[in-house]
Amino acid sequence: MKERVVLDVSKLPMHDMGIASPAWWGTCAFMLIEGSGFALAIAIYFYLFSLAPKWPIDAPSPDLFAGTVLTALLLASIVPNILVSRWAKARALAKVRIGLIVMSLLAAAPLALRIFEFPAMHVSWDENAYGSIVWTLLGLHTTHIITDLIDTLVLTCLMFSRHGDNTRRYGDVEDNALYWNFVIVAWLPLYVCIYWVPRL
């Protein structure tokens, strides 16, 4: 087929960040999938709540301490998270390295608190449907924290390697920060459901 050249793309960058990066859109699509999963889990929580004559079923309301500290910690981690994202945008390698170490610690700390959240429910997953759904909500969110922790650790190693100083890696750091914000935002309605709805 005959061709006629009408556009020269040689001056375009070899990679771009944010909405010009397919990886950013991929991250958004996965957040939409997981967000749908969380929304559905919350809908099921309220469905079971609407059926039960008394909620929580055969258990006192959960203890607030561990969950509330975890929520505060997650919210506090937004600040360094946004800073890391900005440093990545500015391609400041040294700051990004330090920021990622901090974020790795801040992703690991909630896991320590999460260990105390499960017993704070005062119900086991196999006692009744209330126990099943709160354990599932906690478990679902915990897998997200673990996933992001592993992501962040691998990314930290990468930034200390010879592959670190690269627009693609800075884009990865930004996407990872975006995902951590998602993990935090997704937790807030779960926190309200798990800890405050039983107190209504």
């Binding site: 087929m1 009408v6 001056k11 990679h15 196999d126 592993i150 691998v154």
Partner: protein
């Protein structure tokens, strides 16, 4: 690989066509041999595997249907025992829905979307390779269990309590549930690839109003997958939890609820129908335009109808549950929404008819299948409006009327357009034409056989024959029609046999097709048949909705892409203005190992919850291997 960086980058600017092709082919081709085949990330190769695999599952599922028809041909037959019959109808339905219909539609998207939007590979090509291995292993899980006489026996929607711990001993229901997890994981992965390919990899100039209708339909389908599939993954996982670690989601004695299963299943299950139907609607729109020799009538209304269908699809699920005793207001709402979806369906039908009416239709095999589709789908749609009414549904629920209805919608609405699409795109995929004579025979026998087989089922249903019974007594007035249906099924089968013979024969020795045998308008016909590994020698620039029909002097193309690394153009979402020369990942064996690790974890978790813990470690290792940069030129920026 590192030394690649020291050479100055080589672009396509000023290169001879033949030199350019040699460079591109070197950069984009998969390595030869067994490991090269496992590692390839070429969307066309993977789509071809998907399509062949899906059709093998269609044959297997079809054989099960034949076995059921033999058993039901006369009263109190002893061809199958009740337990085997239960396994067969469960495996038939699950195979057709999860291992044939959804994957084959996604496979068509994997093949066609990158070509139709004018790019060199699908977005996230390694994820694409991963998704294929996952669905293959999920399908093997179901069919190996069937071969071992341990297949699921709880129906393709596995209602609790039948599938729960109390009434479903053994591992049969777990195998069903985990097969679901496999197929949904794969479908979600492909949906993400389609969304990002359509959003970000369209050829420069392909603004939203120039996207081919097939691509629009695949995009809406991908969004439905993204919103609906988490529901079924939640359902299948909680079912396994109830069975394995005694959670109480579906146990009414401990605050759970059996109807919760139906809600969650159908919140996915109804959109599933549109996951299958929308791609078919895209295929029909493409075929109708090409063979009417004119642009489609009502492009904008069709796009709007696709999107409206996608949204309304989520407001219908309760119409599968009319007989469970829901509040009257709820039933009325879902009756209204079920009837409302007939509006976008009607718009589509009228646009296709108008295109045919205003054009000069050429009645080739693909168009015959489309016309067969319109007739069959309208009948299925009409019985759909009937069962949307609660009092009528209460009468025919769980009878053969419903079996007839959904086969009209699914076979009529999806398989007919799919077969038309295979005849239409076979030349592109293989470089060879299928036989027009055999195609007409296949269409005639399939259309006739289908209607003779399934239309009488409406009557059987009205006469009260329930679905899923393995036999019936001679005193009941069903024997004559059942024998007629079983004999008609042979006509249907013979049509499919001819189709498969034609496909195999044409693949080996069909007439060479050339790049554009149908004089079609969309970009996939602008390259060779089959397309080279890099799809297009130069990425096209789109100046009209049907770029190949409106070109004046040659196809508008770009220059300036690098040819010594896998490179394609990333463009803006709305106007498709070029934004970057993005690299596309090289072949990798890691997606294969990641799929193996994921499969071990998923299958292990049927037996012990600890599989999730220990199984995560190899998954993490393979994913790190997958994403860790290898210092190739693709990693430069």
């Amino acid at each position: 690989m590192i030394e690649d960086r020291k050479r100055p980058p080589l672009t396509d600017d000023g290169l001879d066509d033949s030199v350019l092709e040699r460079h591109l082919s070197q950069t984009w081709s998969a390595s030869p041999g067994f490991w090269g085949a496992l590692a390839t990330v070429d969307h066309k190769v993977i789509a071809r595997r998907y399509i062949v695999t899906a059709f093998v599952f269609l044959i297997l599922g079809g054989l099960l249907a034949v076995a059921m028809r033999i058993q039901l041909a006369w009263p109190e037959a002893r061809f199958l025992d009740p337990d085997r019959y239960n396994q067969i109808f469960t495996t038939h339905g699950s195979t057709m829905m999860f291992l044939f219909a959804v994957p084959v539609m996604e496979a068509m998207a994997i093949y066609l979307v990158p070509l139709m939007v004018g790019t060199r590979n699908i977005a996230f090509p390694r994820l694409n390779a991963f998704s294929y291995w996952i669905i293959l292993i999920g399908g093997l899980l179901l069919w190996i269990s069937f071969a071992l006489d341990a297949a699921p026996d709880v129906g393709w929607f596995a209602y609790v309590p039948l599938s729960g711990p109390e009434y479903g001993p053994g591992k049969r229901a777990d195998i069903w549930a985990q097969m679901i997890t496999f197929t949904e994981l794969s479908a979600l992965a492909v949906a993400v690839e389609i969304v990002v390919t359509v959003f970000k990899q369209r050829a420069p100039g392909m603004s939203l109003d120039r996207i081919p209708l097939l691509v629009w339909s695949m995009l809406v389908m991908a969004f439905i997958v993204i919103m609906a599939m988490p529901a079924i993954m939640f359902a299948s996982s909680t079912l396994i939890l109830d069975r394995l670690v005694e959670t109480q989601f579906y146990n009414p004695a401990e605050g759970g609820d059996a109807l919760l299963w139906q809600h969650v299943f159908w919140f996915f299950g109804h959109p599933e129908v549109y996951i299958i139907f929308l791609p078919a609607a895209g295929m029909v729109s493409t075929i109708v335009a090409t063979f009417s020799r004119r642009p489609i009538f009502g492009y904008l209304p069709l796009v709007m109808a696709f999107i409206a269908t996608g949204i309304l699809a989520f407001g219908l699920w309760v119409h599968h549950m009319f007989v469970v005793g829901l509040p009257r207001l709820g039933e009325s709402f879902f009756t209204a929404s079920s009837m409302a979806i007939a509006v976008p369906a009607g718009i589509q039908i009228f646009c296709w008819l108008a295109t045919l009416w205003l054009g000069r239709p050429v009645f080739t095999t693909p168009l015959l299948f489309v016309i067969g589709f319109i007739v069959t789908f309208v009948i299925g749609g009409l019985t759909g409006v009937m069962v949307a009414s609660v009092p009528f549904d209460a009468q025919v629920h769980d009878t053969y009327f419903v079996v007839a209805h959904f086969h009209y919608v699914l076979v009529g609405g999806a398989v007919f357009p799919l077969l038309g699409a295979i005849y239409y795109w076979f030349p592109k995929m293989t470089g060879r034409m299928m036989s027009e004579t055999l195609g007409r025979w296949a269409f005639g026998l399939i259309f006739l056989g289908f209607n003779l087989t399934f239309f009488p089922m409406h009557i059987l249903g009205l006469q009260g024959m329930p679905r899923r019974v393995y036999t019936y007594q001679p005193e009941l007035p069903w024997a004559g029609l059942n024998l007629f249906i079983s004999l008609s099924a042979l006509v249907l089968v013979s049509g499919f046999v001819i189709f498969f013979i034609d496909a195999l024969r044409s693949w080996r020795s069909g007439k060479p097709a050339g790049p554009d045998p149908w004089s079609a308008g969309t970009l996939e016909w602008a390259t060779a048949s089959p397309p080279p590994a890099y799809n297009f020698r130069r990425i096209p620039v789109v100046e009209a909705r049907e770029p190949l029909w409106s070109r004046s002097e040659g196809l508008a193309v770009t220059k300036g892409l690098q040819v010594d690394r896998r490179e394609l153009i990333v463009s803006s979402v709305v106007e498709a203005l070029p934004e970057a020369r993005e690299s596309s990942p090289r072949d990798s064996i890691w997606p294969f190992w990641a799929a193996i690790a994921t499969s071990l974890m998923l299958i292990g978790s049927i037996f012990t919850p600890w599989a999730v813990v220990w199984g995560s470690i190899p998954i993490a290792v393979t994913l790190i291997g997958w994403f860790w940069p290898k210092g190739t030129v693709e990693d430069t920026s």
